[in-house]
């Protein structure tokens, strides 16, 4: 309730500023369309926005787009769940226990900077060329941002809150459920956001090189057959997907963290 009202208030406050980016995009598209119409832009490289829209619609009509979209979405979601759940738990443990940190920190430091796409061939050797190796590659990529955020989330908890728990006689379990988890939630959601971004990136990369379905594949096929408008269409759908994830998470944040100060 409260959330909706504040959102509404904010919308009315910056109405002009909020419409500005939309206007800029429209202006850009108009210039592009005109550029193609007067022959200033080469349609093979820069097909007119209307051509791209037509390709997008056609792809929707045949259902091809949805097949690819579903495949990508499924990989992202599976990878994020598979990677983030253990990462969140391990992060809590590492944040809480200095001993666990000493043991695991070097391993994390070694694993994190590794470009995850580089392990895909290895995963395909071990797990086969089916869905599993792809999802696991995405999961490994999603794992690290969540782990680091979850660990940082626990470490930034004010020591005073632990004092409160101790002085009011909380058990370890109560400290976990009443202090550690809620106090970590905001940063963990930020971690989830980072993980989803990385997961989407790796999913597309995996599809570019080793898949028959998915938005990455769609783009690759469009490139191979020089159907540039489909290439653009694919990129647009991926961008929309990214924005959707981000919006869903923003809303989840408001529902899950009602105590967060409105900023």
């Amino acid at each position: 309730m409260n959330v909706w009202r504040t959102t509404a208030r904010r919308w009315s406050k910056y109405r002009v500023e909020r419409l500005l980016p939309l206007a800029l995009v429209l202006l850009f598209l108009l210039a592009w369309q005109l550029g193609v119409a007067v022959g200033l832009l080469e349609p093979l490289f820069f097909p007119a926005p209307t051509t791209i829209a037509a390709a997008l619609l056609e792809s929707c009509r045949t259902g091809e787009l949805f097949t690819h979209l579903t495949a990508t979405l499924l990989r992202v979601v599976q990878g994020v769940v598979l990677g983030c759940v253990p990462a969140a738990l391990l992060g809590l443990v590492m944040g809480w226990s200095p001993r666990a940190r000493v043991v695991l920190d070097p391993l994390v430091a070694a694993g994190h900077p590794m470009p995850k796409i580089a392990i895909l061939p290895l995963l395909m050797v071990i797990l086969g060329i089916g869905e599993l190796s792809k999802v696991v590659a995405v999961a490994i990529a999603a794992f690290f941002p969540m782990l680091l955020s979850s660990m940082a989330a626990v470490r930034q908890i004010s020591p005073q809150l632990f004092d409160v728990a101790r002085c009011y006689g909380a058990s370890r379990r109560q400290t976990l459920t009443r202090i550690v988890v809620p106090a970590s939630l905001p940063l963990m959601l930020t971690g989830l956001r980072l993980s989803i971004n990385v997961a989407l990136m790796v999913t597309i990369a995996v599809e570019l090189i080793a898949s028959r379905t998915g938005l990455g594949t769609l783009i690759w096929l469009a490139w191979e057959t020089m159907r540039t408008e489909e290439l653009y269409a694919g990129i647009i759908v991926i961008a929309i997907l990214g924005v959707t994830f981000s919006l869903v998470l923003k809303h989840a944040e408001k529902v899950l963290i009602p105590w967060q100060q409105e900023r």
């Binding site: 005073q160 004092d163 409160v164 002085c167 009011y168 006689g169 809620p182 105590w259 100060q261």
Partner: protein
């Protein structure tokens, strides 16, 4: 329940060098007594409270609790200077927190909490989160939480320190009233001399670092008290007496020569 501190000392290591925060602190606290500790900033008052609360071990000396422990009752509860509330809990949940931790059923603990919330005049804010309240309201919630938990010993760490002067007066009266109805041993840390005199049976004056007890001063004011109690004869002499003890300590802690 009461307790006795015997030669309590506490050292910290700060920047590689040992720092003596408390030295040979000895005093006894009797049941249902209201004790205030006044001292200059950084004299180890908070450290002392944390030792009594069991959050910190003393380096030397010991603390002896006498009297019987009631089963399932907290030995002590601490009201922090600020930020002691859980931001993700509503006022009701925060006030009921102590009871929740010792396993009191939800209807029972909420009923008890509601009673206290009403007493501190926050009934309308039961469902609010701490960030939606003013600093004064938050501190009332913290005080209600401590009383609801019904500990043997109540520890107050400058609970009014972050409040404006007027809110402070209101809360001082409020704590007098709540304490009158729910008598228990209170150890209260403050640097407000008048506040210490108004609330307590005894004022303990602490020296600057390393903190130790300079003098124990009984406050002979009759109870029940209110803000007008400070107008009684003798209060002003008491106040100046405490100030004369503290003056040079405060100057030293500020690095000002006499």
């Amino acid at each position: 329940m009461g307790f006795a501190l015997e030669g309590i000392g506490r050292e910290f290591v700060a920047g590689g060098r040992p720092l003596v925060a408390l030295k040979d602190v000895t005093f006894t606290a009797r049941r249902e007594e209201f004790i205030s500790i006044v001292g200059p900033s950084g004299c180890g008052k908070t450290t002392l409270l944390r030792i009594i609360a069991g959050l910190l071990r003393p380096t030397t000396g010991k603390i002896v609790f006498n009297g019987t422990f009631s089963q399932g009752k907290l030995r002590s509860a601490l009201v922090f200077q600020e930020h002691g509330l859980l931001p993700w809990c509503t006022v009701l949940q925060n006030v009921a927190l102590g009871l929740e931790f010792i396993g009191v059923s939800r209807p029972e603990r909420e009923a008890k909490a509601r009673g206290f919330i009403q007493q501190v005049g926050l009934a309308r804010f039961e469902r609010s989160y701490p960030h939606q309240l003013s600093v004064g309201m938050r501190q009332r919630v913290a005080i209600a939480r401590a009383f609801v938990a019904d500990p043997e010993i109540l520890l107050l760490d400058e609970p009014f320190g972050s409040l404006d002067a007027q809110t402070r007066l209101v809360l001082q009266e409020e704590i007098l009233r709540v304490w009158r109805d729910h008598r228990k041993l209170v150890v209260h840390v403050t640097h407000d001399i008048e506040e210490a005199i108004l609330l307590s049976d005894r004022v303990l004056v602490m020296s600057g670092r390393p903190g130790t007890i300079l003098e124990e001063i009984p406050v002979p004011l009759p109870r029940p008290r209110d803000l007008y109690s400070l107008d009684r004869p003798g209060v002003s002499a008491l106040k100046w007496h405490v100030w004369n003890l503290l003056k040079s300590e405060v100057r030293t802690s500020l690095g000002v020569a006499e």
